[in-house]
Amino acid sequence: MNILVLLKMVPDVVEELKIGDDFKSLDRDWLRFILSESDEHALEQAIILKEKYGGTVTAVAPDAPELDDALYSALAKGADRAFKIIGEWDIYRSPGLAKVFSRFIEINNIMGEQTLILSGSQAIDDLEGEIVYYLAEFLGLPGCCVVTSVQYNPDSNCITLLKEFSGGLRGEFELSLPAVIGIQAAENPPRYIPIAKIRNIMKTQKIEEIEIPVEGIPNGLTIEKLFEPEVTDRAEILEGTPEEVARKLVEIFSDKGII
């Protein structure tokens, strides 16, 4: 099985977030970028599958600050190749990025009978969770998101998936390869990198850079305005014994004409 993992860098929300002077983006001076958490899981799942069934893992990501570190880490964890798509990708949302990835796949002739494309289910920066479905559509492949388990059956060239629904429900799906999957959580938590591997990788492997023509790539939604949540004083905390709180509630409701 040959696995392609789509990765994306997102702002580290542990750091303070400040809105930029254009009121449309975050202030870069205050940002640190990390690999999107669910992409970490997609990468982990890819490496687990490679360890179980053989094949290769290729990681690819649109250029972003601190991306090289994330790609070298992917190689140190067990990816075979890592690609960086050169360009300014800030303004592109899911449909645009899906187009970029589909062109990347075409240009590099990656699609094959046993290709599995993995990505995280949803990144914390836009919470769109749409890239998997756009890409599946562009490539004419089956797609499935919020997946927590992937098993491969080499005889039928099918994968069996567990997909999570709200309320703790789970559904089992079977898809034939090639397919595009959004990973919510890998079977195991993402592994730590053996530190000796880092040095080896830096010596022996390179991040491959590639350009993708941008004509005709839609950027999807554009952000008109970013703003901090407004502080209002509409919330009121009622204190006292349950009886007192209930009495105050009734008062408020009747004041507002609700009862």
């Binding site: 090289d68 570190d69 880490s73 730590y192 990198i193 530190i195 000796a196 591997k197 040095r199 830096m202």
Partner: protein, 385 residues
């Protein structure tokens, strides 16, 4: 402030990886292990899997083959969340693995280093009840008997020597007199379980409570002459050389602890309000935090620079002493400010401030007290000539 100034991509990725492990594995466990005064075999095994237990040893002995800067960054990142686990790694590498790797015979390296890379620990027995700062006063003796040597005496405060995964210790002994009348000292590699050798854990520590500290007892402990580290009579120099390098890892622990305490204090100060505004906006607080930041910047730059000197093969007796002294006193200041800024909460176990405050103190005592570092520096600048 950027901890990665002037570092290579490799160093940056290494810092991220160790930080992630430290925050996700060590940090959540640290408080309870400290409280129960318990050494974690489990976490030590995980640190071995990451390659942290034979950091600068070449791959042929299963080591991670890191440069010294990388090793120091790894210790710094562990110390940023917990002193005990940083201590296990720092003592094992610098004091346990170091002497065998630098002074051991090929057979000794082949025999021990792969095991020490893989999760077994090794102690460094220099200090005795009557010989701490004054290591020349070592009283443990080894007497030749045919092909063996017989060791008698005791060591105290030996890190990593009596855990369930401790393989043995390097022990400094007196083996005779030199022609100039001084003691002839020789190091032996002594495995745990050797008859006549007992390693016993010391309890009730103020700090590093999840790190193992041991007393070693030798009574007619017989070891073959193949267990001499390097050559007979080289012991004292081996120990001094080991301490020169080891000081950098104590410095890294100071830097990491300072960083952890500073971050905690800064975050707290921005959130805690008194008299209607965050305490970070009172100069009494903000100046403390600026002093911490300034010290950390200077300490980090200097420490990495000394590591580069060591990587380049230069002698670092004075520079190592300066780095150790500066970083451990910086840790003292930052931990103290951190507790002060957290007020009453700083004294409660709920926050890491009190653990930083306790753990910091060892750094001014272990591997040569601050007074001894000043002695080393004053000798090096010629005060006593």
């Amino acid at each position: 402030m950027h901890p990665n100034r002037n570092l290579t991509e490799e160093h940056v990725i290494l810092r991220q990886s160790v930080r992630k492990f430290a925050e996700e594995v060590v940090k959540p466990a640290a408080k309870l292990l400290d409280e129960k005064e318990e050494f974690s075999v489990e976490i030590t095994k995980q640190m071995a899997e990451l390659g942290l237990l034979a950091a600068f040893v070449p791959e042929e002995y299963n080591g991670s083959c890191l440069d010294y800067v990388s090793y120091i960054i790894a210790v710094e990142e562990l110390a940023r969340v917990d002193g005990s686990h940083a201590a296990t790694v720092a003592a094992h590498n610098s004091l346990g693995v170091g002497p065998i790797y630098y002074f051991g015979s090929e057979e000794q390296k082949k025999k021990y280093l792969p095991k020490l890379a893989g999760g077994m620990l090794w102690g460094f027995g220099l200090t005795e009840p009557e010989a701490g700062s004054d290591a020349g006063n070592t009283m443990t003796t080894a007497v030749e008997d045919g092909n063996d040597w017989i060791i008698n005496g005791a060591k105290i405060f030996i890190t990593n020597a009596s855990t369930d995964i401790s393989l043995g210790s390097t022990v400094l002994t007196v083996t005779g007199k030199k022609p100039d009348g001084k003691k002839e000292m020789t190091c032996f590699l002594v495995e745990n379980g050797t008859p006549g050798f007992e390693a016993r854990a010391m309890k009730h520590k103020l700090m590093w409570r999840a790190s193992n500290t041991s007393e070693l007892f030798f009574s007619d402990c017989r070891v073959p002459k193949e267990n001499i580290l390097g050559k007979r009579g080289d012991g004292f120099h081996q120990m001094l050389g080991t301490l020169d390098n080891g000081r950098l890892s104590i410095a890294a622990m100071g830097l990491g602890l300072a960083q952890g305490a500073f971050e905690l204090a800064l975050n707290y100060a921005k959130q805690r309000k008194t008299f209607g505004k965050p305490i970070a906006q009172y100069q009494a607080t903000s100046f403390k935090l600026s002093d911490c930041d300034m010290g950390i910047e200077l300490a980090r730059n200097y420490l990495y620079e000394v590591c580069r000197m060591l990587d380049a093969g230069e002698k670092i007796t004075k520079e190592g002493a300066i780095a150790k002294l500066y970083c451990s006193e910086l840790a003292h200041m930052c931990a103290n400010h951190c507790v002060q800024i957290l007020g009453g909460y700083g004294l409660m176990k709920e926050y890491d401030a009190e653990r930083f405050y306790r753990d910091q103190k060892l750094l001014e005592i272990g591997e040569g007290t601050s007074e001894i570092q000043r002695l080393v520096i004053s000798r090096m600048i010629g005060c006593y000539e």
